[in-house]
């Protein structure tokens, strides 16, 4: 079984982002970019499935500018077999990404798509569900445990207030949550080896997908700041203020 893992190049999760002064977006000039952390978890899970003999091939795909090859290489260094870059300079919405992935799923004949539950830049949490929908496949979102047999994916999901386990008839889309695994660090020999693994570059047009964006970003602003309050000197003062000033206890 082939597994497709979409990976997104995003502002590194350790970077404190700044809104551009003209309100047009986030300042990404000179900012460290990395693989979306949830996608890293998806790569790790797919590679483990290959190591267990469940998967035959792990294909990673990224969509965007040439620099997205960096995150594809990072995934190859973790153990993915080959990469595909769907090259575009346009900003793609989840709907467009889902359509392109659907076309790629058909071209590569994959039976499982493993992907991050959301990207930490736009926080949409949508692409996996949309892809599953348009493929007519079941979805296992917010996965914290995955077991794959020949025709079934058993997925334990992090739901509000606990865990839920569902059985999905393959083919399926699984989106990964934080606790699914801890992604490995690629060893230097594996990083070197990854340089020789193939990355194919194709255009959205070659996949037969034409898409115009549905959302226009009017502006991006910093959220209202909350002003710091006061420091209290004692527990008595704290309780007194909560009771008589804030009136919350």
């Amino acid at each position: 079984m082939k597994i497709l893992v979409p990976v997104k190049r995003v502002v590194d999760y350790n970077v404190k982002v700044h809104v551009k002064s003209d309100g047009s977006g986030i300042d990404t000039a000179g900012v460290k970019m990395s693989m979306n952390p949830f996608d890293e978890i998806a790569v790790e899970e797919a590679v483990r499935l290959k190591e267990q003999g469940v998967a035959t091939e792990v294909i990673v795909v990224s969509l965007g500018i040439t620099a997205c090859q960096d995150v594809i290489r990072a995934a190859l260094a973790m153990g993915a077999d080959r990469g595909i870059l769907i090259a575009t300079t346009e900003t793609l919405e989840p709907l467009a990404v889902a359509k392109l992935l659907k076309a790629l799923v058909a071209r590569e004949i994959v039976r499982l798509v493993m992907m991050g539950k959301q990207a930490i830049d736009d926080d949409m949490n949508a692409t996996g569900q949309m892809l599953a929908g348009i493929l007519g496949w079941p979805q296992g979102t917010f996965a914290s445990k995955v077991a794959i047999t020949a025709d079934t994916a058993t997925v334990t999901r992090e739901v509000d207030g606990g865990l839920e386990t569902v059985a999905l008839a393959l083919p399926a889309v699984i989106t990964t949550d934080l606790r699914l695994n801890e992604p490995r660090y690629a060893s230097l020999p594996n990083v070197m080896r990854a340089r020789k693994k193939p990355i194919e570059v194709i255009s959205p047009h070659e996949l037969g997908v034409e898409h115009s964006p549905r959302l226009t970003v009017i502006n991006v602003t910093e959220p209202a700041r909350r002003a710091a309050g006061i420091k209290v000197k004692s527990v008595q003062e704290l309780v007194e203020r909560l009771r008589n000033e804030a009136k919350v206890i």
């Binding site: 926080d123 949490n125 929908g133 979805q139 992090e158 606790r179 309050g229």
Partner: protein, 314 residues
């Protein structure tokens, strides 16, 4: 103004609180029709019919909806979609699972986690873990969105009941099956519904301290217990206690952060609380920048004292 379909989330017993906030959001856009899906859910439909702002309830009562699986629920929304301009659910795990799936099927770009409604086509949503807000305009004729409950007031109960209409349709689901659920026993209010939340972080040092020091104070204040991601990752508290961008988004009247330094991702989950109290030994901890009342000191002596002080109040 168009017709608005609001998905009513429930656990078989009662309607999820966040749904009431979603109804308020829906009312800003048009006349709200509530859709209740489940198996033997007549009582849920009835409960939905007496929420203020609900004009009509559509109930799809069928075994296929038993466990709120995303596949049949999204199919149901797609079938209902043609007469609605908006389809809305609260930003819960279920809402986030079904709305994008239905949107894909309807060829719509969904809008996730709406925190503000500017006009019929323009919405505000957080990006970058709440470090920025994006105002976006949708050109889709039909709009699907999840809304963040803490940004909208809950719709109050109504004296009169809206009419209930049965939507009798056969939807098959051969793709997914519910296997089991693990719901830890809850002795305290749910995080997303609590008026007061006591949260612990890495400063508690271990799970035993967490239980010994946080729980009694929470119980005295009838509070829910939360935790930072650091505390959850260290195993001090279960994952469903997690408050933050990757956990639950909360906005109680009182949020007490104990031994939590205030990582960006934690602040994203609680910064809309009415009153924030921070107790931390590091006076430079970022949590103090947003706390209404901060106390610098050793939580291992402050918490027992706070516990005793709360006894005096009772």
């Amino acid at each position: 103004m168009g017709q608005v379909l609001v998905f009513i989330e429930h656990d078989g017993t009662e309607i999820k609180n966040q749904t009431r906030n979603a109804i308020t959001a829906g009312n800003k856009l048009g006349d709200v029709v509530a859709v209740v899906a489940g198996y033997n859910v007549g009582h849920i439909a009835k409960a939905a019919s007496v929420i203020s702002g609900v004009r009509k309830v559509v109930v799809a009562d069928n075994e296929v909806f038993s466990f709120a699986l995303a596949e049949p629920l999204a199919d149901l929304l797609v079938l209902l979609a043609p007469i609605y301009s908006y389809i809305i659910a609260a930003s819960t795990v279920i809402g986030k699972s079904i709305i994008p799936r239905a949107a894909g099927l309807l060829d719509v770009q969904p809008i996730s986690d709406v925190i503000g409604i500017i006009d019929a086509n323009t919405f505000v949503r957080p990006i970058y873990a709440g470090n920025a807000n994006a105002t976006v305009r949708s050109s889709d004729a039909r709009k699907l969105m999840t809304v963040r409950a803490t940004s909208f007031d809950p719709a109050p109960p109504n004296d009169s009941a809206a009419p209930i209409e049965v939507f009798d349709i056969a939807i098959a689901n051969t793709k997914s099956k519910f296997v089991s659920a693990e719901v830890p026993k809850k002795e305290r209010p749910e995080l997303t519904a609590a008026r007061v939340i006591i949260s612990g972080g890495r400063g508690l040092q271990n799970g035993e301290n967490f239980r010994k020091l946080i729980y009694p104070i929470a119980d005295k204040l009838c509070a829910a217990v939360g935790a930072s991601r650091a505390a959850v990752d260290a195993g001090f508290a279960p994952n469903d206690y997690q408050v933050g961008q990757t956990g639950k988004i909360v906005a109680p009247d009182l949020y007490v952060a104990i031994g939590i330094s205030g990582a960006i991702q934690h602040l994203a989950g609680m910064k809309d609380s009415k009153i924030i109290v921070a107790i931390n030994k590091d006076e430079d901890a970022p949590i103090f920048e947003i706390a209404d009342y901060g106390m610098v000191g050793d939580l291992f002596s402050i918490l027992p004292e706070l516990d005793r002080e709360l006894d005096h109040l009772a």
